[in-house]
Amino acid sequence: MFIIRIIALFLLIGINQVQAHTASDSFLTIKNIEDKLLLQWDIALRDLDFVLGLDTNRDSQLSGAEIKTKASEITAHALGNIAITNNQQLCELKLESIHIIERDQQQYFSINSQGNCRPEHSITIDYRLFSDIDPTHRGLINYQSADKEINIITTQKNPTVTINTNTLTNNTLAEKAKVISSFIIEGIWHIWIGIDHIIFLLTLLLPAVALTQGKKQALKNGKQAFFAVIKLVTCFTVAHSITLSLATLNIVILPSRWVEVVIAASIIVVALNNIKPLFNHARLWFAFVFGLIHGFGFANVLLDLELQAATLALSLFSFNIGVELGQIAIILIAFPLLYALSYWARYRYFFIPTMSSAFAAIAILWVVERSTGYEINIF
């Protein structure tokens, strides 16, 4: 009978992988902010109860009173089982506050503390909580600084981890070059796929290559045409560079949907002016003012790309260069074409109005699409 009793203890009633609540894991978040080390360490109450006996009245419940009574013992036990060192110097952890946090239907004792060390190159975390009681306990560490986030797991077998805390401002030249080149390419790409920007430019340029300003409009020669284009593009470029920077740096924020609508509308305005030239004197202003709006449009795109705080300025600058390069490429193709076309007799009274109307029509569709959110898939 004795044997049967013992066997009975081990009968595995079917193979069921034991997995209910998570195994014993604690969550340690370390934030390296402005040379301070802020820690939040969440430890499951159940784990603490097993080791420290929180349920003192053995009623199978942990009450507020029971937890409060044991709070300092818990904190001492926890902080006594972790060591954070910076260059072999121990970081003293000062308790800031204690909370109770629920994670995944379990309650955790959450210790907030601050470390008095300033991590220069690396910190080492020696994690020993519950290591003698539960070899399967793990510390899930999440380290955050201004420019990186790392997740590391400590186990009983590997209780010590070292995190490199160097910020990316100590970037190597190679990393910087990578940022520059990738964002230049993004800039070029996004202006090429930015049909609305291209159409705006083309609409602006249509008359520019052909006609002189002023009351008596005569055909321009090559040099005049060229400079006219340069002036327009420069105004446009300066303007969109300004707002691209303002928006990316979060200095000016405009709702993106509105921006998209106005970009489309800008095409309409310029196109209509091509057809009925009421504002010919102000075309440079159009280029500038609408350039400002287009800049916000580019910013929307740039912010969708992954930006890192440390290389933000560099990314922004490179992206802008990319946009300009892309623009230049378009001009280099468009300008000779348009200039050549401008010799066509019907350029002024047929080509410009027709193309402008076409652009305006497309732009109207865009305005409708972008303001209502419906997609009109004709193209």
Partner: protein, 372 residues
Amino acid sequence: MIPYRRYFLSLAVSCSIASSTVIARPLASLDDNAIIEKLPQTITLMKNKNHPLRQQLQQQPKDINTAIALAKQYIEIGQSQSDPRFLGYAQGLLSPWWTLKEPPISVRLLRATIYQNQHRFQEAMADLNYIVTTAPNNQHALLLKATLHQSMGQHRQAIGSCYKLAKSAPAVISSGCMAASLFASGLAKPALHLLQSLSEETITQQTPTTQQWIYTLFAEISAHLKQAEAEPLFYKALTIKKRSPYLLLTYTDYLLQQQQAKKVIELLEKDEVLDDTLLLQLARAYRALGNIKQTEKYQEILSRRFKVLTLQNTPLHKAAAARFALEFEGNQQKALSLAEANWQSQKTYRDKQILKDALVAINTPKNITLIK
């Protein structure tokens, strides 16, 4: 065109999902009488019963008999509560001998049990093989070995172990072992006959744990063969005052098949310690009843659990995750890859079932014949 989204400068690349819905209450704000966390009764009972034992161990951690006695209790709690922590605690108690080159057999046996529950089958088998070669009549080891072979899909070896067991163990034990092995290998009818040959008396003479084991097995096989006796057998197993996650799983499967979702809810809602597989059963039951709110509630819990476990590198209960993907996420590809991964590690008939279901969902009849 350009998307209507706006991303602000962000630091993080990966974002811990667990921390996204965290509400922190300051310690001082807790009401003294408020219940912050409930603990399972079994754990309190263990504490009460073993207080002197635990004290003793703290003084003399190398007292092997005390360590083993307590470790056994921890393992049992770990199994009945589906709480892997307790397996860890058991492992902790055995640490003075765990890393020895030649641990004592008693320690090896417990180690094999822990490994098996942690799904580390190869390591468990290594320990068991050692035991049966040095102590061929060790009944625990043979029984454990048979069960391990079953879950690894090694049916012949499972039957072989049960056969060796028959030489020394009582009829109930060896019959149970054999029936389980036969059932696992697809021979349900012979398994049923074997169990039917046991008299009611012999079964009720056994310890509650053994009885529950036999009744659960008996009920499971009967249910599989669509016998009416399944229900009373499940009932007998349930009346034994010991929580068995496997029994709950099998029984709820049966109830769901019998369109008795309401009973599933009655059974599980009052249970505090639901693991992923049982939460899934609850979700299925609510869905069968058309209770959208509760279904979504459990679906959300499960979805987060699986995500969190994956993020934290914790081994998933892949079969449950596969079924969840299949039945709730509608993601057949994911279900299939999970079911296949599960099949690599475990080959019980339940694992076969989810793999089949996943294959059928993707509609590749060719593959189904392969696993048959």
